[in-house]
Symmetry: C2
């Protein structure tokens, strides 16, 4: 006998949570499609040679390799032991490979969404996952891609998280060119040094301002107290409204080319985000946001829940110069965002933000009064299903109390009874477990009545 | 520069095919939920020790093992090289592990659906896949499960394939007890011998009756000519209607216990399948169907497309005695079916049965007449999206002919134009690329007009 268990670092759900998770996936997908993004799925296994184009790197140390039984046997007999296959660790490298491979069959700008699981050999730790869903959208241009596309992504983020209904959120915007220009003006011109400074600045919340100030003026950095003060003032900038955001950009003054370019880009993005109908309470400038410094080159995004800042960013991304330089000579600039849904779901559940009773996918259950009534129960179910109502039938005439208990625990809303009395009167007794009501409905009207009830509840819930 | 390519044996789709594939997945899921099945997802990686409970077997020789970078390094330094993780090769073993692991948190009979990819190191060959979707439903009982549940699965199969709309199909039914009883009566009592005989019988179509007759009467089998004739007559039995099916069961006579039990089960299943509203043209007895002989114990199913028998079974399954004997002492009988969607999709596409123009997920495109009109175009898009219409905006004012060409190629139905003239008149020009019509719609009515058009098309298409 083997103990049934999953490997550490995966999230496996019982059906009620799986239903809640699936609804989040559906909501995200619906909104991605609403904005004109097209679905792509890629294989979970890529050729190692194709996947691991860069040498080293933290992510690549976490890669899972895949070998068939045959390959393992060959390796054990002294054959080549380099695994030919590896599991994707994100959706960006597969996207690069996909776009380069199918370049001549795709229309650019290419707008794709992808919602699949990725794999990382993370250290086992609570809340860290080795298998997790990423929900990504990207727009890829050929040769060039207007900064205007950078404005669409906050609109998608706003649509997704409004409908997910997990509380107020703020989409935080920054621009890598603006940052580069600013740091150059403070004498931090070199890219790696900027990265180191930003890493220190990132510790502001944890270590406090004094610690960061001491580090940056101390050995290793040797920045002037004045420069550090300017930097600390800069990274603390947050806008409080659309006009305030524009004013904060103006206040940065002329500066160098990079700064001016970044300011102009952010200004255009802000204007179009507003034109797309995103309320100004949902977005703000935040000059501390840097993100993958060796990757992003223009607009960068993070999204935080206003009441749960400790959860960190729930949706991040940005603009990059060239998606697929390892695979094609074509220049493919792009902009994208990613939602790490497994981690988000886990955190929302931990924080009690999932709302609990989402209800079952099963909307109605036909109870079975006695064994002879089974064909009739199946006929009732057939009609409900034909009308689009998810229906389960009790296939055995257990005690009626047990049948109700089952429906109640399972989160099924309607229990339907058709005993001899109901049959004689041509009705079905409906027990609405949500409203704790019971009423009779003529057989012919059962499906339409339940549909109306379900539609009303959906409308009331605002979805 | 690395050549971008996928590993052999995976199916990767361009967006139009991915949309068609996703619609099939959605249809299957919708119908699984319609019949009250609950969603489950399991991790793609299982502990090898848990996944590989049986020793040997063809499937287990095809298993992919997974190792993190760290584990590989350890193995290369002479550490334990047995991979701890393996990719699931079906959804049945993970279901067994899941049900055993969560036994006390699940309500039985447990009705679950699972639609995920599985992995097998198949020989590389056209039409064979190493990564493919399985779409499974199973009902698992605790201690016992009424044969009545066996009748629900043909109803689900009928609902799924009717809505998938890929042509007429027949759900073929048989029963392992009936077969066992019949073969025992012919002097083929031993299980393994039965399996060998059935394997020969399975060659009827390819090798012809004479070849099979010679083999079974020849050395190794030594069956009498009479027994072989009876067997060949038996496995050729097909019913042509509901009443014919019942008559063919009657014609088998009393026989031994196993035969009688099998006949009684099939009769009950047939009656309930009819009560569930499955038309009699969609199901039939087929006494040649055996399926996994060491696994199934009662009802077995196969489903074939009437006009494309060469595709083979598109949905198969059956009843089994005990799901999870490796993981729990509880007896968990069940019944289930599986659709191998990747292979089915590939075969339908090869046979030209996909119907081609499924249309994009994008329903409307707002064309951009000139650069200044962008905010207006975004506002039009915002309203359409708020009304639930999937909308893309041309973010740059390319030549209008190019914009139309793009929409047409992408399969987008509505192109919307709001030039100076339309703006002055308070209308938007709508070009319906499906009907090749152009008409003006007042701005305020645009979203509702397009919704009505889209709803009408959906209703006409019967979905």
């Amino acid at each position: 006998m083997i103990k049934p268990r999953t490997p550490p670092g995966v999230m496996e759900l019982l059906p009620p949570d799986q239903i809640a998770f699936q609804r989040m996936l559906d909501t995200i997908r619906r909104n991605f499609e609403r904005f004109g993004f097209l679905p792509v799925e890629t294989p979970v296994m890529e050729l190692s040679e194709v996947l691991l184009t860069k040498s080293g790197g933290e992510t690549e140390r976490q890669v899972y390799f895949v070998q068939s039984t045959g390959a393992l046997e060959k390796a054990s007999q002294g054959g080549d032991s380099t695994p030919e296959l590896a599991l994707r660790f994100d959706l960006t490298v597969p996207l690069a490979r996909y776009v380069a491979e199918h370049e001549h069959e795709l229309a650019f700008p290419f707008r794709r969404y992808q919602m699949q699981r990725v794999y990382r050999g993370e250290r086992a730790q609570r809340g860290r996952f080795r298998e997790f869903y990423q929900c990504d959208i990207d727009v890829i241009g050929k040769d060039a891609l207007s900064v205007r596309f950078d404005a669409e992504l906050p609109a998608v983020i706003h649509a997704v998280f409004s409908e997910l209904d997990i509380g107020a959120f703020t989409i935080q915007l920054n621009n890598r060119k603006l940052m580069r220009g600013f740091f150059e003006a403070q004498g931090v011109a070199e890219g790696e040094l900027q990265a180191l400074v930003l890493r220190e600045v990132d510790k502001l919340d944890k270590r406090g301002e004094e610690h960061v100030r001491e580090t940056l003026t101390g050995e290793g950095f040797n920045l002037s107290a004045e420069a550090v003060a300017t930097i600390l003032d800069f990274v603390k900038i947050r806008s409080t409204s659309h006009d305030d955001a524009l004013a904060k950009l103006d206040a940065l003054g002329g500066g160098n080319d990079a700064l001016r370019e970044g300011v102009a880009e952010l200004r255009e993005v802000l204007e179009l985000v507003r034109a797309l109908g995103v309320p100004e309470s949902a977005y703000a400038l935040n000059f501390s946001i840097a993100r993958g410094l060796d990757y992003y080159t223009g607009t960068v995004y993070e999204t935080t829940l206003n009441d749960f800042p400790q959860i960190g960013s729930i949706c991040s991304g940005g603009r990059y110069e060239n998606l697929a330089s390892h695979y094609t000579k074509s220049r493919l600039p792009g902009v994208g965002i990613s939602i790490g849904l497994t981690r988000l779901f886990w955190q929302l559940r931990e924080a009690g933000l999932l709302g609990g009773a989402v209800g079952s996918t099963v909307q109605a259950m036909v109870a079975l009064m006695d064994e002879q009534s089974l064909p009739d129960a199946l006929e009732i179910a057939r009609r409900l299903r034909a009308a689009g109502i998810n229906t389960e039938v009790q296939m055995e005439a257990r005690k009626i109390g047990k049948q109700f208990q089952y429906a109640s625990r399972a989160g099924i809303r309607f229990v339907l009874l058709a005993g001899d009395d109901e049959k004689a009167r041509g009705v079905v007794a409906v027990k609405d477990l949500a409203r704790e009501e019971q009423f009779d409905v003529p057989r012919e009207e059962l499906a339409s009545t339940l549909r109306v009830e379900l539609e009303q509840s959906r409308a009331l819930a605002g979805r």
